[in-house]
Amino acid sequence: MPDTTSQTADLTSIPALLARNAVRYADRPAYREKEFGIWQTWTWADAAKEIRAIALGLVNLGVKRGDYIAVIGRNRPAHYMAMVAAQMAGAIPVPLYQDAVAEEMTYVLDHCGARFVLCGDQEQVDKVIEVRASVAHIEHVIYNDKRGMRKYDHSHMNALEDIKAEGRAAEQRLAAELDARIAELGYDNTCVMLYTSGTTGRPKGVVLSNRNIIEASKSSSEFDHLRESDEVLAYLPMAWVGDFIFSIGQAYWTGFCVNCPESPETMMTDLREIGPTYYFAPPRVFETQLTNVMIRMEDAGRLKKWLFDTFMDVARKVGPRLLDAKPVGAMDRFKYWLGNIFVYGPLKNTLGFSRVRVGYTAGEAIGPEIFDFYRSLGINLKQLYGQTEASVFVTAQPDGEVRADTVGVPSPGVEIRIDENGEVHYRSPGAFVEYYKNPESTASTKDSEGWVATGDAGFIEEGTGHLRIIDRAKDVAKLSDGRMFAPKYVENKLKFYPNILEAVVFGAGRDRCCAFVNIDLTAVGNWAERNNIAYASYQELAQHPEVLNTVQGHIEEVNRSVAEDPMLSGCQIHRFMILHKELDADDGELTRTGKVRRAVIGEKFKDLVDALYDGSNEIYTETEVTYEDGRKGKITATLMIRDAAVVPVAGQKMAAE
C-alpha cells in the first residue's frame, strides 16, 4: 500500500523506529527487568546505545546481511535488544521456543540455517551444543547469563557482554558499515521469522516483513489508543508472534515500556508490582486465575465472603454495562461504587489489574462467565482473532462492542471473506510474505491477490458484523449420517467448566460423538478436599464415581445447549471417559501453545477410542509418559466409560425411522 508507505517514509524498519524513540522518548523507560531485587531500567536512549553496541559487536563477529540469528531464552531485555541489533546488522532474528525438545529445536535450527545462536543461559547452551553435532552451519554461540559458563570451550562462544564490549571498541572501525546496513533497511526487508507451532506436521517459518509488523502495530495501536505511557509485561514465549508484536512492534511504534519478570515463578508478584496498563493473556491464564480467586475466597471469613458474593452480583449486573458506557441507574452506580471500595478495587489490586486500560485474550474461545467476571470488575478485557501469518490482527473487538461469543470486527486495514465451505479468509498489510523454504504451503495458504486462508471455519453475524469462529476448518467434518461435526466448538463449551481442563471430542465419519475428558486437578482436588474424599493420584481422583457424575452432569448440560443450534445438534456427546493422564505438550498431545492435537491423540489412544464406540463399560490401558526431566515411564489404568443423556432432535428421529 503506497499511501501508508509514503506517510511513514522514514519509519520503515524497527531500527528506524528505535532511532526516533531514542530522540522523542529519550528519557522515558523502554525496558524494565526485575533483577537483583529492583526493576532495572533502560530508557530509550540507553536502549539505543546498548543495541547499537550489540549490533557493532555482531558485525565485528562476522554477521552478514541476510544471516539468520536464532534467539533462545526467556523474556529479557537483552534478548529483545539483541533481536533489534540483529536487524541493524542486516540479519534476521529467529526467536525459538525455549522449552522446545531437542529434536524440535534441531529441525528449526537446521531449517532456518542460523549461523549464530543467542542463548539465555547454560541450559539453552547445552541444548544448542547438542544440536550443533548434527547441524553444521551453527558457527557461533552467544550466551547472556554467565553463570556456570566458565568451564566451557570458548573457541566458538562468547558472552553477550563481551560482544557488546568488542562492539563498543570497534565503533570507529565499523560505524560506517553498520550505518550503511541500517540505512538499507526498508519496508520490504524481512523483520523477523517466526515458526508456527503447527497443530500438525513440521513447524513452518513465517517470514514477516517490516511492512507487515509496522503496519499491523501502527493500526492496532491506533485502534486501542496505545500511548508511550503504557506498560506491558512480557511473559509469553518470545517465539510467539503476539509477543513480538506487543513487545517490539507496538512498543517501538508507540514507545511504551516493556517489563520483564524476574523468573517464571515470580511472574504473578511481578505482574502485581508493575500493574500493566496493556495486558494480553490466553484464556487459560484468566481461567486459572479465576479458579484461584474462588478457591482462596472459600477460606475467607463470613463477612468477607458475604461482601464478595453480594458485590459480585452487583458487578455482574452493572459492571459490563458501565464499561460499555451504557445507561445505569443511580442506585446501581452507588452500589458499584461501594463494591469498588470493598471488593473490585482490592481484588484487581491483588491480581495486578488495577491499571489495565486494554486487555486482550485470544488463541481459543474463553468461557463466558470467566470473560464476564473480569469485565464486571471493570477490566476492559476484549477478544481478538489472529494468527502468525497475519502479524496477529485479523479481527478485534472495539470498545463498547465486547461479547464473549464473537471475536470482533475486522481490524483496520483488514478485509475478510468467508468462502463457500465456511473457511475464513483475510487480506491485510500485515499478511505474511511467505513460508520460508516452503513455496507449496505458501501457495496453498496465500493466493495471488494476497488473500490468506486462516484454516478456521466461521461466519459473520448479521447486524453486528462480528466474526464468530466455529472451529478449525479441517476439523469441521461430517458424521457418518452427514450431519456437521465441529469438535472444537463442543470442547470449548466443556472446557468452560472449571472442573474440566481439556476435552477431546471424536466423531468424524462415525455415527455419533464421544469424548475424552481431562479434569482440572486444582479445582477437583480442592472439591475433593472440602468433601474429604481421599485420593492418592490423579488417576484415582479421575476415576472417582463422584467425579464421573459431576463431569457427566456438565456434559449433559452441554448437550442441551448444543442441541439448541440445529446446525450443530449432531455434536452431542453420547459416551465419555476421563483420561488417566493430563494431556501434555512433552508427550506431543498438545502443541506448545496448548492446543490439542486431535490426530495424534486419536492415534495414541486408539484402544480407548475404540472402547468408546464398542459399548464396553471399562477398559484397561497402558501409556508411555515423559517426565519433566525427560525420562520416560509407563502408567497403567482401568478407565470407566459413561453414557451421557442426549436431547433427541429432528435429524436423529429421521435417522431412526
Binding site: 531485587g37 556456570g148 566458565r150
Partner: protein
C-alpha cells in the same frame, strides 16, 4: 618443605596456590579436658580443605581456633605468611575469614536481606553522624553494598525469600542464607561447620553444588567440617582427619581413604 610448594593445577583445572593459613602444634584445653592435642596442618590458596573425624574429635574446636573464638594454650596460627597475634573474633573476621555455624546462628529478628547485609558490616565504614543524617554518604554506601549483596542472593538463588524474616524459613534455606551471609563478606577464607548437617539428599546436592561454585567462581579458599564421608571425598582437595583431639591423617581423599588409622577410627576400633 612441602609448605612452600608453588601453585599447581587440580585435575578439574583449578589453580591451587601456596600456603594461606598454617596451624602449628595447636593444643587447646578446657580446664582439664584436652580438646585438641598438638595438631599442625595448612590450608592453601583456592583449595577446598576438609576436616573430618568422629563426634568429639575436636573438629569444631579447631574451627573455633581458626576463627579466633577459642585461644589455644599452645601453638601458633600463621596467616598469609605471618604469625597471627592473639585476636578477638571480630578482628579475625576483618582479616577476611568468614564462617557458618553447625547449629545455625542467623539473626532471627531480621529479614534475609538484613542478615546477608550484616555480612558486609566489615566493609561498611561510614560513621554514626553520617548514618544519622543518612542522605548522601551513608545512603551511597548502603546502596553499593546492597548491590554486592544482591549478587550473592542471586548466586545462591534466594531471591524469592529476600524480604522474609529468617525465623519463618525451613532448615535447608536457613543454611543457605547463612552461607550467603558469610559470602557477602567476600572472604579470603571461608569456614563451613557441617554445612550439610541434617539435610536431605537433594539439599545436600544443592549445597555441594553451591560450595563448588563458590570455590570456582570466586576462587574462595574453603575449609569445611563434615560428617558425610561421601560428600567430603567428592568435594575436597585435601582432608585432615582428627580423632580424640589428635591428627591421625592428612592428604588427598584417596590417601586418607586408605589410611589404616582412619579406617580404624571410623570403624570404631577400641582406643588404647
Amino acid at each position: 618443605m612441602k609448605d612452600t610448594v608453588e601453585s599447581f593445577q587440580t585435575p578439574d583445572g583449578r589453580t591451587i596456590g601456596g600456603v594461606m593459613m598454617e596451624m602449628k602444634h595447636i593444643t587447646l584445653r578446657f580446664g582439664g579436658v584436652v580438646a585438641i592435642k598438638d595438631i599442625s596442618f595448612d590450608i592453601r590458596e583456592g583449595e577446598i580443605r576438609a576436616i573430618i573425624g568422629p563426634n568429639g574429635a575436636g573438629k569444631s574446636s579447631m574451627l573455633n581456633v581458626i576463627s579466633g573464638f577459642y585461644h589455644p594454650q599452645e601453638g601458633e596460627v600463621w596467616f598469609h605468611g605471618s604469625r597471627r597475634p592473639s585476636m578477638k573474633p571480630f578482628q579475625v573476621a576483618r582479616q577476611g575469614i568468614a564462617r557458618t555455624f553447625q547449629n545455625i546462628a542467623l539473626f532471627e529478628g531480621m529479614s534475609v536481606l538484613d542478615n546477608v547485609m550484616t555480612g558486609r558490616l566489615t566493609q561498611m565504614k561510614t560513621g554514626m553522624m553520617a548514618q544519622a543524617i543518612w542522605w548522601g554518604k551513608a545512603e551511597k554506601e548502603e546502596t553499593e553494598n546492597r548491590e554486592k549483596v544482591e549478587k550473592v542472593i542471586d548466586f545462591l538463588e534466594i531471591q524469592h525469600i529476600r524480604k522474609t524474616p529468617v525465623g519463618r524459613l525451613p532448615y535447608g534455606l536457613k543454611k543457605r542464607v547463612e552461607l550467603a551471609r558469610a559470602l557477602a563478606a567476600e572472604p579470603k577464607l571461608l569456614l563451613l561447620d557441617e554445612p550439610m548437617a541434617g539435610m536431605n539428599v537433594e539439599e545436600k546436592e544443592d549445597m555441594s553444588r553451591f560450595i563448588l561454585d563458590v570455590n570456582d567462581e570466586f576462587g574462595t579458599t574453603i575449609a569445611l567440617i563434615e560428617h558425610d564421608m561421601g560428600v567430603v571425598m567428592d568435594l575436597s582437595d585435601r582432608v585432615v582427619v582428627m580423632d580424640y583431639g589428635k591428627k591421625i591423617g592428612d592428604g588427598s581423599p584417596d590417601e586418607v581413604r586408605n589410611n589404616q588409622d582412619v579406617i580404624d577410627a571410623y570403624l570404631g576400633v577400641a582406643h588404647d
